[in-house]
């Protein structure tokens, strides 16, 4: 496991994103999110469907602009990238893997084209023959062998798992420092997931890529993640080392999640089973306070009014909960 250390490669501070649809309805997809990614770690952003994970990814990728807060990549404000070369540099440094490999590959392009094109755009490899070699090497590294055969495959000739490997190779093609992987295995057959997770671990270990790994499956988060960020309805309610969060959850929402896993022993399985998936909760009216307020067994009056601040626990573990804050305050005095 990699401990977070040094200067963060990516920092989100008080980032919010509100979608307005129509005149009256607003969706606070991301609320006051703060976290840091340190070089070479794999951080899992876990949360049920609709909790704002993809929106967070889109904000990082500058596909959306945040309503407030700042996102910094190596100190550089992502919202203030000016000029073509700044954009290009960012695109080269930060890549994304999409959830649905059936949608993320252009049906008319061969695997070889899809993987080689980013190299061509960024001139990272000068000659076409060198580029072909690099593509073949990547194909081999993502286990699409024999590579010369896969080079010419069109997406419809590939299985879901193979497509996702092509998508991963595309993300790796420009040798990025950071990859945002938005639920890269959730659309794949359970039996294929371990292989993809292995590939991500390998890319971190051998190429030193930092990952923000988004998932709604606790087991894969536990398996692959150095740290875990738990997201619920736009807020990050708990964060810490993967073991600490899974074995000693502190936020009432995280506790409820982990207690709800039908076979806790499967949490060790590395995402090869489907029964550690976080269930979706019924939606409650938006409130200025903690989004878990209505369902929380230990909520206090203040929970409905205000968003709690972070309470630091041991190590890197911290929680956003008035109840935890009060309990710790009580212990100290």
């Amino acid at each position: 496991m990699t401990e977070p250390e040094g200067v963060p490669i990516l920092s989100l501070t008080h980032v919010s994103k509100t979608f307005f649809s129509g005149r009256r309805s607003r969706i606070d997809a991301v609320r006051d999110v703060t976290f840091h990614l340190y070089p070479h770690e794999i951080v899992c952003l876990v949360g049920e469907s609709g909790s704002g994970k993809s929106t967070t990814a889109h904000l990082i990728m500058a596909m959306e602009t945040s309503t407030s807060g700042t996102i910094r990549y190596q100190g550089q404000d992502v919202a203030r990238l000016r000029g073509r070369s700044a954009h290009r540099q960012y695109r080269r440094a930060v890549q994304m893997i999409f959830q649905d490999p059936y949608a993320s590959l252009n049906p008319v392009h061969t695997a070889g084209y899809t993987i080689g094109r980013p190299m061509e755009i960024h001139h990272s490899i000068a000659s076409a023959s060198q580029r072909n070699k690099a593509v073949l090497r990547l194909l081999r590294q993502v286990d699409l062998t024999p590579p010369a055969e896969f080079y010419y495959k069109l997406p419809y000739q590939l299985s879901g798992g193979q497509r996702q490997r092509v998508a991963i190779a595309r993300a790796l093609a420009v040798q990025p420092a950071l990859i945002i992987a938005d639920e890269p295995v959730s659309m794949l057959d359970v039996s294929l997931r371990a292989g993809i997770l292995q590939l991500i671990l390998q890319a971190r270990d051998e190429a030193g890529v930092t990952f923000l790994y988004i998932t709604h499956d606790l087991a894969s988060a536990r398996y692959i993640g150095d740290r875990i960020l738990v997201m619920y309805r736009g807020i990050i309610c708990e964060e810490g080392m993967a073991d600490a969060v899974i074995n000693g959850p502190q936020h009432p929402y995280t506790k409820a999640l982990i207690e709800a896993v039908p076979n806790p022993e499967h949490l060790e399985d590395g995402g090869t089973v489907d029964d550690t998936v976080i269930p979706s909760h019924p939606s409650a009216p938006a409130s200025p306070g903690c989004p878990y307020y209505a369902l929380c067994p230990v909520s206090v009056a203040e929970c409905q009014q205000n968003l709690p601040d972070w309470t630091e626990l041991s190590g890197k573990h911290r929680v956003r909960c008035f109840h935890v804050a009060d309990a710790r305050h009580g212990v100290k005095t």
Partner: protein
């Protein structure tokens, strides 16, 4: 910088086997498709007729002779007109203005459809609103009546005027179809993914959108040629084009003017009629085969082994 993973030693000598480029495979699929082949053969046949007109039917097709209203004979294969001109010669030479106007007007119309339809939809916002507004205005303008009015106003539309009128009234249909296709495509993940790899806007249109729309664009182009030929023939038939050029439309105009039907001169009317129908039918056949080929999922996988056996037919 960093290298992705570590290069394994065996990779250095790896080379790509050569494979037939995609365009060659597409053509092969076309030739294999009966419908498409028939359409192409007929259409190309007319193009060849037009090109070889001086060889097949030497002399000026407008030349007036003494042999008026002659039924088909050994000398005048398709008979003569009321002014003693050879119908055979006129039909052959008439291929030229019909195809030229059809092709140029079709190309211009398709270009307008692409620029306005794809450009508006991809950029979105105010540009799309303006483009849509223009499409909606132009689409309710009835094409042929407008052409008649314009042609009357211009006193016999020349070739250029006719092409401009056909293009100006023909583009909104294609623009609408291409716009909706672009709107559907630009939201797809692979377009987002291309953007995230740093692809420029023009690069995305050219490399990600167009290849997915090519069958639609070609189909649109062929339909527009059909529309343009129809419009050209109508204008000529109504005497609103240049009635002194020899074309299928002007042949029908003169045949009508001299009441060919009343004189039982079927040979003057049927040949240009059949030619118009054949060209239109050929384009329709090609269009249908494009539909069948368009979806790579529907055709057999272009495995290299299959291509080698291609010569033995399927």
């Amino acid at each position: 910088m960093m290298t992705p993973f570590t290069a394994s030693p065996g990779d250095e000598g790896e080379a790509l086997p050569s494979v037939k480029p995609r365009s060659a495979r597409t053509w092969l699929a076309f030739v294999r498709n009966r419908t498409g082949l028939i359409g192409i053969v007929i259409f190309v046949g007319f193009v060849v007729l037009g090109l070889l007109a001086p060889v097949i039917a030497p002399g000026n097709p407008a030349t007036i002779t003494m042999h008026i209203m002659s039924p088909p004979t050994a000398h005048y294969w398709l008979g003569t007109t009321a002014e003693g001109q050879s119908v055979w010669s006129q039909v052959i030479w008439g291929t030229r203005p019909t195809l030229v106007i059809g092709f140029i007007a079709g190309a211009l119309t398709t270009a307008l459809s692409i620029i306005i339809g794809v450009g508006g939809a991809y950029n979105g916002g105010a540009l799309d609103d303006v483009a849509t507004m223009f499409s909606n205005i132009f689409i309710v303008i009835p094409g042929i009546p407008l052409m008649i009015v314009l042609a009357t106003y211009l006193h016999h539309a020349g070739t250029v005027a006719m092409i401009l009128v056909i293009s100006a009234t023909g583009w909104p249909f294609g623009a609408r179809v291409l716009r909706s296709q672009t709107l559907a495509l630009r939201k797809r993940d692979f377009v987002q993914a291309a953007r995230l790899t740093g692809e420029s806007t023009w690069g995305i249109v050219q490399r990600e959108l167009f290849p997915n729309m090519i069958s639609l664009i070609v189909a649109n182009f062929l339909s527009t040629i059909m529309y343009a030929i129809g419009a050209e023939v109508s204008l000529q038939f109504l005497g609103l084009g240049n009635i002194n050029t020899v074309s299928w439309g002007s042949m029908l105009y003169w045949a009508g003017n001299y009441q060919a039907l009343a004189f039982g001169a079927w040979w003057w009317i049927i040949p240009p009629g059949i030619c118009i129908a054949l060209v239109g039918g050929a384009l329709a056949l090609v269009n249908r085969s494009i539909d069948e080929i368009a979806n790579p999922q529907l055709t057999s996988a272009p495995k290299r082994g299959r291509l080698h056996r291609g010569g033995t037919g399927s």
